[in-house]
Amino acid sequence: MHFDAFDRYHEKESFIHHLDPRVKVVVTIVFIVSNALLPDGAWMAFAFAWLFLLLANVFSKLGLTYTTKRSLIALPFAFIAITILFSMPGEPVASFKLLMWNLTITDTGLLRFVSILIRSWLSVQLAILLVATTRFPDLIHAFEHLRVPAILTTIIAFLYRYLFVLTDEVLRLMRARESRSAASAGNRSGGGVLWRAKVAGNMAGQLFLRSYERSDRIYNAMLSRGYTGHLYTLNPHEMQSRDYFVTAFAIAVIFIVQIIGRL
């Protein structure tokens, strides 16, 4: 069994793929911060931010719709914001009756709601592009360079490595449970909710013990290769002039977007 579905990296030979991961991380974060700073209803600025995104998409050779297709992930969360449609004071735009409530959408409410959705939608797309064009280990290196504490980056590196091993294990555990989830004629099958929860908990406990013991074996494997508590890594990345140029260009564009948003 092999579970690769977690890999988000998309192998391609493109300009963006070859950029230093630090550049991509920094630009992504600046872009997202900039989106959050744009005032409600800054349509022109949103449009320019979107153009920036399209440009990045083009240079990544993933196809213009690559990120759009995957960007719906944040949408369910928008439910939480739906009440501001009705609760912000302002001119009524539309009103309707839902069950026993009379709901009135106000213009300010609508403006705010749509702005939130756009900000989120733009932000998540660049994040998607980041992981689609950067292999996860390189992303971790980028965070190391950006002075994220080594202990966190190493935990994340281990997490990434064993994510696949352990989710495979979980998948097999759940398959084994499923294959024995049988019914016999004339009986009510399935057991009670509490019993089912207990079985799930047992699986978690089982997985915990195996992971714990695995960490012991890994520790042994590390010891036998000279580990003494300090981790050393080789640094595979070096910033080139192209990387500096792209960073400067991207940040300048994002700055202009901010100015447009405030005109």
Partner: protein, 253 residues
């Protein structure tokens, strides 16, 4: 056995053709990532058959087995005892087809042996005394009765393997499907397992890389490679066909 694909055919032992147990017809399956794991697989198992399923890594053996009790696919090409596998009769099919996974650790998720063996019967909604009776006889069958209250976590691989088989026997399946049962066992545990499998009076499909096990235990062998059945016949004849074996990454025992 009629197959639409060209493959080596041998004479097949025909014991009670009518009491057909498992019938797979033209089964295709791709994993979500697009990988084609099964391509037009057809096979038939009859009551009491003990059949080996061999083939190189990635041949599709495990994938096929996951279809036989509806963990994967279930698009109607699989028939168990005359019933086509559908979403509705899945639970009933699962009571008939017992699947034992390669790694006993996957199968044993409860703290004690008893709880694990009781999972199937409990899920089937049997009354308590029936559950207890089933657990007892299943453990009896694998000769592990004294292990009822032991913690599964502390057992040896060979013991775990036998308990894993018991977890499925307790559901009284009419077909037992074992994925690489002898992997990782030491010779003694392997020998015990072979004797156990020989004794169990039940239809059996067993995938393995252990060609000596095949030779010793199974009158019939199915060879898979790249998602297809490439040979199906008497073990003695297949094991003599060196060309076939080497072509599919196998070795004579």
């Amino acid at each position: 056995m009629p197959h639409s694909h060209p493959h080596t055919t041998f004479s097949i032992p025909k014991n009670n053709e009518d009491a057909l147990c498992v019938q797979v017809r033209d089964l295709h399956f791709s994993y979500p990532d697009g990988h084609m794991a099964l391509e037009s697989v057809s096979l038939k198992l009859c009551d009491g058959d003990k059949v080996a399923l061999v083939g190189p890594n990635g041949a599709g053996k495990s994938t096929l087995m996951l279809h036989l009790n509806g963990i994967l696919g279930a698009r109607g090409e699989v028939e168990i005892r005359g019933q086509r596998l559908t979403r509705d009769n899945l639970p009933a099919i699962r009571a008939m087809v017992g699947l034992v996974f390669q790694n006993p650790d996957d199968q044993l998720f409860s703290p004690t042996v008893f709880e694990d063996v009781a999972f199937g019967p409990l899920h089937m909604g049997l009354p308590e005394e029936d559950v207890r009776a089933r657990v007892d006889s299943a453990l009896e069958a694998v000769r592990m009765s004294s292990y009822k209250d032991r913690l599964s976590h502390h057992l040896s691989v060979g013991e775990k393997k036998r308990i894993a088989i018991a977890t499925v026997l307790s559901m009284n399946p009419s077909i037992l499907i074992l994925d690489e049962p002898s992997a990782g066992l030491d010779p003694r545990a392997r020998r015990t397992l072979i004797n156990l499998l020989r004794e169990l009076p039940i239809t059996m499909l067993v995938s393995t890389h252990d060609m000596r096990l095949v030779q010793e235990l199974f009158p019939r062998t199915i060879v898979m490679d790249e998602g297809r059945v490439v040979a199906d016949g008497l073990t003695s004849e297949i094991l003599e066909d060196e060309k076939l074996l080497t072509a599919h990454g196998l070795e004579k025992p």
